[in-house]
């Protein structure tokens, strides 16, 4: 480790939200020309830490030094002036403004005191080209971009501020692997230029590939900082969650032939689905892989009745079904459940109580006719909380008071209350810590063992490899390759995702023209 003056130093920083102590007496330093990972469970205080660094939050106590000087940031803009720039976990892009507007949102190039749109556009083009996103039109509206493109814009926006300390808070969670590679390259360049990158991620392999220094946080405390390679993965995980995790993934049953429950034939929708064929067996876990935006999400939404004018045939238990809405999809005969992509906007009613959120999909099960039965409700809520071991003070607290991982558990539990047959999971472990992830994997396997069928979309290869009985890889709105048993490996998934022809697996006929 370079032992010069740290570019950024925190001394005795504490932060509390009401009763919650998010950070407690944290000392932390980072140095120029380094990529520094910050690790920790959900709710460990990572985001809070960097919000304080970047002027979003005021610390309750403690001091912050940048390049040796004491600073007191009142806003992200001030922090950016001193070279501390953050890419936040929740995107900070304005959907209705153009890409160029967003990149230069708070400090646009000006002419005669007014924003100079033309210069702004050209500068945006240059920046986008630098991160190999020349295909993004600076005039396009951000809301018209896919999530991964938006994250790239977010990165361009950060770069436009010429950062000395660049903070990425799970900024790669939604990126496609191609873009991730670009970012890795970029971070390498920045490191060589002497920029300090702080990198928060729950994906261990990213951390391993990129970072040179690691800091672990737990329960709002800074536990330890060490150089890469100084500790084994198991040791790191132990530091993070305070206990050892034996096997991350539950054991898979041996490959076998499953009785088909769901079969999809030639499913088409707009330009995103171009004829998907897929089957799903009783008790089977099928993974959906591929680069981001190849139609995986649309496939799940189409099955769940969210998309309109879907063509093709969907059979459940050999019966042709048509789901016109989630209400129909969750009812028999389909009995679908969908854990959506974004729990905050699509999964939860944040200000409402945990109990209400748990019950909202299964109101018919706790009511007599239109009238809710309080006793049934109480029982069902208790069951749901117990089944997923959700850590709640009281089921009547607002769900927004829970940590991210527990919120995600509420979303899953909500659907388990409906007793579904087919569970559609859209990246259920995004932004979730190792410990919780492990619980969710166990749960998924347990559900499969109960005879439920599971379709799991994930951006994490490890997850597909570790969890699934079969992996279907999508490319350009079609399933191009299906991998089974031992065929499921990182190389096979990646090459299938990139649609490189030399996969050993079952090439679907007609998949490549």
């Amino acid at each position: 480790m370079p032992q010069s003056e740290p570019i950024l130093r925190m001394a005795g920083i504490s932060k509390s939200f009401g009763a919650t102590q998010a950070l407690q007496d944290v000392d932390f330093s980072c140095f120029t020309g380094s990529i520094h990972a910050i690790l920790g469970e959900n709710g460990a205080g990572k985001s809070t830490l960097i919000k304080i660094m970047s002027g979003v939050l005021d610390p309750t106590a403690g001091e912050l030094f940048v390049e040796g000087g004491l600073v007191n940031f009142q806003s992200p803009t001030q922090a950016a002036k001193d070279g501390v720039v953050c890419i936040f976990q929740e995107l900070s892009l304005v959907p209705d403004l153009s890409v160029a507007d967003n990149i230069f949102l708070d400090s646009p190039p000006k002419k005669w005191g007014l924003i100079d749109k033309k210069t702004q556009r050209e500068q945006a083009r240059v920046l986008l080209a630098r991160i190999k996103c020349g295909d993004i039109d600076p005039r396009a509206l951000v809301k018209d971009l896919s999530l991964s493109r938006r994250q790239m814009v977010e990165i361009a926006k950060a770069l436009s501020k010429k950062p000395k300390v660049l903070i990425l808070d799970e900024a790669t969670s939604a990126l496609s692997s191609q873009d991730v590679d670009t970012i890795y390259g970029l971070l390498g360049e920045l490191k060589d230029e002497g920029v300090c990158c702080l990198f928060i991620s729950h994906k261990m392999h990213e951390v391993e590939r990129l970072c040179d220094t690691l800091s672990v946080f737990r329960n709002g405390k800074h536990i330890e900082t060490f150089a890469k390679g100084a500790k084994s993965d198991d040791e790191i995980v132990k530091l993070m969650i305070g206990r050892t995790v034996d096997a991350q993934f539950p054991a898979k049953p041996p490959p076998k032939d499953y009785e088909t429950r769901l079969s999809i034939r030639d499913l088409k929708w707009e330009r995103q689905l171009k004829g998907v064929d897929l089957t799903l067996g009783r008790g089977e876990i099928v993974g959906l892989g591929g680069l981001d935006g190849q139609g995986q999400k649309e496939l799940l939404l189409a099955l769940f009745g969210v998309l309109r004018s879907v063509e093709g045939e969907v059979r459940v238990d050999d019966q042709i079904v048509h789901t016109g809405s989630p209400a129909e999809a969750k009812a028999s005969p389909t009995n679908f459940a969908l854990v959506p992509e974004d729990r905050k906007t699509e999964g939860l009613m944040l200000p409402m109580s945990i109990a209400d959120n748990l019950m909202i999909a299964s109101l018919d099960k706790i009511s007599d006719g239109p009238v809710v039965s309080p006793s049934k409700e109480k029982e069902a809520v208790a069951n749901g909380i117990k089944q997923l071991e959700i850590k709640v003070g009281s089921p009547h607290h607002a769900v927004s008071t829970l940590s991210g991982g527990n919120q995600q558990k509420v979303v899953i539990a909500k659907w388990l209350c409906t007793n579904p047959d087919i569970v559609l999971l859209n990246d259920p472990t995004r932004g979730i810590d190792v410990g919780t992830k492990q619980e969710i994997y166990k749960l998924i396997r347990a559900l499969a063992d109960e005879g439920k069928s599971i379709l799991l979309y994930s951006t994490d290869y490890d997850e597909l490899i570790g969890c699934c009985d079969r992996v279907a890889v999508m490319y350009d709105g079609k399933i191009t390759v299906e991998l089974k048993g031992d065929e499921i490996s990182e190389t096979s998934i990646v090459s299938a995702a990139l649609n490189i022809g030399d996969t050993p697996a079952h090439q679907k006929p007609g998949a490549m023209q």
């Binding site: 936040f88 892009l93 304005v94 959907p95 949102l105 708070d106 649309e298 309109r308």
Partner: protein, 349 residues
Amino acid sequence: MNDYKKSLKLAIGQNMGFTVATVGLLLLWLLYNILHPGGFSSAVLIQNTNESVVIVFVAIAQTFPILLGGLDLSVGAVMTLANCVASALMSGSPIQILIGAIITLLTGTAFGFLNGMIVVYGRIQPIIATLATGSIAIGLALFIRPQPGGDVDGDLGWALTNDLYELVYTYGWWDADAAWFSPFAWIPVPLLIIIIVGFGIWLPFKKTVTGRTIYAVGSSESAAFMSGLPIERAKLTAFTMAGFFAACGGLYLAIQTSSGNADMTQAGSYTLNSIAAVVLGGTSLFGGVGGAIGSLVGALLLRMLSFYFRIMSIDPLLQPLIEGVVLLVAVSLGALRTLRTKNRLRLFR
């Protein structure tokens, strides 16, 4: 060239509501002039613009809070308050009149600023805060003008509500019959006022960071905050601007009618019409999308409707019904897009 075309296509695609409204307005206006016995004349244009100035200003005023994702239910009342203030002050020497006009505009602006303060520092939802302050504005207007009246300088009223010829002629700035002047002499003064005040302030304003922040806040307040934008300043400015433009409307109404009238129903209908105009002009009630020029078009569209009752023979007792149904249909046209949305999740915002 190709890039220019692409830009245009993008701009149209990104402003569909505005484009449709503008094309619709142009068609309706052409047809109106064809049907009108005195169509395509300066007199008709003067009449059309005169009738529209106030609602245009009030609609522009309403645009700012709506872009912010809020709503200002006090614009009509502030317009009325300004109207009453102007009716009390706008007479005497030119200097006195000028000072009167400035005080009028300041009153509205200050009231808008007050709205902004309540919204920003009181953290009360704009819709309900302005519902209450609207009441206060009407109360103050009634204090100033318990009965309609006042005498605003008549020459001023005449000069500003006619074409340039009359303006120049009334004040004798130069020879109104001069040959060089005749190509411009027909231009209605109210049209110029709308263009100069409306566009002159709006277009530059949109290009300031504060202006852009208003859009950003309407689109995603948390993103705006995270990006370090001056949110509070933007909110204060938006409501202050609303007050200012509402006052412009009130001032013009005072000039146009040479009087002030603290009419509560009229204030209410201006407020509601302003919202309708903003929406017709392609601005989203959720904020972040649209603009004052759209509101101008929307306000003109709204007025256009009543123009037609005067050139066509329609049973007078059916006119209100037709007016209501046309408004209903017009706002439901946006639903066509909804029905074409293939991903239902996109419907929720």
